[in-house]
Every structure is written in structure tokens, then in C-alpha cells.
Symmetry: C2
Subunit: 187 residues, 2 copies
């Protein structure tokens, strides 16, 4: 099936980007993983930038679907945030992987505009969700305050993941998250 080939390429590419980055991603290595020739990868994704765009778009779509479902689970504010944080923790647990869009934010300069738009959308999906969660606890906070806090929580978690990855030690992630809670950032 050719659709499966496209899916296989995206799967292998996502893992590679989250582990080594978009710039380090190789069409020839990708082709080997999937069992085709590198020229064939270009049939499915004309350029590397097109692949980056498709990866980020799917990543944003999946986050949106996951978070929408999570919000319906009727967990408490604290439980929702714990589950949210656990997603970022799980990436580190899998071979020290990083959030795909966090990685792409670092590699911003190498991305085509079409991929940057998807990175932006992923951020919006996350901060919109955090804003909803935060608003249910602080209904009296101003819209600006809620929005800024949601963005801050997202950035803080991305930073915790980045720093922990740079130490190659997930214990740092846990320590940082605990300190965020202790300081009241999540409350």
C-alpha cells in the first residue's frame, strides 16, 4: 500500500526529529528505515520542508484531539495539569525525546513558513487548552491575565523539558515541575 508508505515515512521521521532534530533528519536514512530509495521519499514529500510541515501539522492535529478529549474527562484542575505534564515527561522517557514543536522552535531558522505556521498552531492549541483549564479555576481573572498565564505555563513546561534533555536526566524535569507548583505557577 502506498498510503502505508507515506505513513511509515512520517512515523520514522517524527521519531528522528524528536530525537535528533529536523536538520539532522536524512532522506536517505529515512528511506532505509522504510525500505525504499531516497528518491521515492521525494514522491511523497517533494522537499524536506514539506515533510516538516506535514509532521508539525499532524502533531498539532493530534494534540488538539487529545486535549479536547482530556477536557471532557471531568478531572480536577490539578489532575488535568498533572496529565498534561505527563505527556511531556513521556517524551523524555522515550530515548530523551523532545516535543516536536519545541525542537522545531529551536530550528526555526531552517523551517519554511508553512512549517512555522504549524508550530504556531501547536502552541495555540496548547495555550487555548491551558487557558480553559486555568479559567475554570480563576473565573474572575481578566482575559489578558488568563491568556498570559496559559502561555507562561506552556513555556515553562517546554523549558523544563529542554533543560532536562540537555542534562540527559529526567529527574531534572520532575524537580523543575515540582518547583513550578511550589512557586504557585500552576495554581
Amino acid at each position: 500500500m502506498s498510503t502505508d508508505t507515506r505513513e511509515a515515512i512520517m512515523g520514522a521521521a517524527r521519531a528522528a526529529v524528536q530525537t535528533s532534530g529536523y536538520t539532522a533528519l536524512s532522506f536517505r536514512e529515512l528511506a532505509k528505515d522504510v525500505g525504499i530509495k531516497s528518491a521515492s521519499v521525494h514522491y511523497h514529500f517533494p522537499t524536506k520542508g514539506d515533510l516538516a510541515t506535514a509532521l508539525a501539522a499532524r502533531y498539532a492535529d493530534e494534540a488538539q484531539a487529545y486535549l479536547a478529549e482530556l477536557l471532557e474527562s471531568q478531572q480536577s484542575h490539578d489532575q488535568l495539569l498533572d496529565t498534561y505534564v505527563a505527556v511531556f515527561r513521556a517524551a523524555l522517557e522515550r530515548d530523551n525525546r523532545m516535543c516536536l514543536c519545541g525542537m522545531m522552535a529551536a530550528e526555526y531558522d531552517e523551517l519554511p513558513d508553512s512549517a512555522r505556521v504549524e508550530v504556531e498552531r501547536f502552541t495555540a492549541v496548547n495555550t487555548d487548552w491551558l487557558e480553559k483549564v486555568f479559567s475554570s479555576r480563576h473565573p474572575k481573572a481578566s482575559a489578558e491575565k488568563r491568556h498570559a498565564r496559559a502561555l507562561a505555563i506552556f513555556a515553562a513546561i517546554e523549558g523544563a523539558q529542554l533543560v532536562a534533555r540537555g542534562r540527559g536526566n529526567i529527574a531534572f524535569f520532575d524537580q523543575i515541575i515540582a518547583a513550578y507548583k511550589d512557586a504557585g505557577l500552576f495554581s
Copy 2:
């Protein structure tokens, strides 16, 4: 002067890494910038990994010297943190650049161990300094608490820079920092 050549390579390389990342760094482009041939770059830095190590080591050294001097300036707690945050902001102001070690943390998988050690040292230099600043305001806090808070502040600022870079808009950095302060993370 050959020492100047080495310095010129490091200067051009640092700017390139902070803008485009270590993986995207090209010895051939670097050679053009400096006015030599790419084979000559290898005379000064045998491998790309050696260059990464030298860049990160100098970055950590410079941070250590700068922060030691800053601590002696006898500014208030709030002023010190504002000055500290301004350093990360200044990177974004210069062509959306990122902290060299934040970038390298994302590219962790591509780095030799010798460079990873320097990224770790940069983190330690920053968190040690933040711990001192935080301790002067909260002398009664436990050592664990102070250390965790210092690490959290560092990670949060790195995350703010990463997210703002991914949006290509420094206004997000300012908004996130303001929300950190509002939540009490810096206090």
C-alpha cells in the same frame, strides 16, 4: 595572525549556532566567512564536535565571569533578575538568536560527550548564580528548595526564549516573563 583566525572561526560559528543550530553549521560556509578553505578549519578544530565543545566551554566561561561581576554590582533582588532576563531578551533581539546552550540542549543527540559536559556546566553556572540571588531574599528556605527554585527559574526563562523564538516575536517573551512575575515565580 593564526590566533585571530581561530577567534574569527569561533565568532562566526557562535553566531551561526545561535541562529541556525549546530547541526546546520557548515565548515565550508564558516571558511568563507573567515576567508580560508574548509580544510583549514579542521586545523584549528579537528572535528565539528571539537568546535561545539570549544564554543560551549567559552560560553560557560563568559557567563561565569559576567554573572560574578553582576553579583558584585549590589543591585536589588528584582534588579538583578531583570538584568539577568535582559541577557536572554537581547539574544532574541539579535536576529531571533537563542541561548547557545539552549540550542545545544535541543541538539543533545548530535553532540559529543565533551560538549554535553560544557552545556551542563553552563546550566550549573546559571543555577548557582540564581540560587545565590534567591537565597539572599529567602535565607530561611531549605537548600533543596532554593536549588530547585533556581533550576526552575532558569528552565522557565529558557522556555520563554524557545517559545518566543518559535513565534518569531519577542513580544511573547515579554508577556511570558511578566506572567512568571505575576505568578510569583521570581519572588
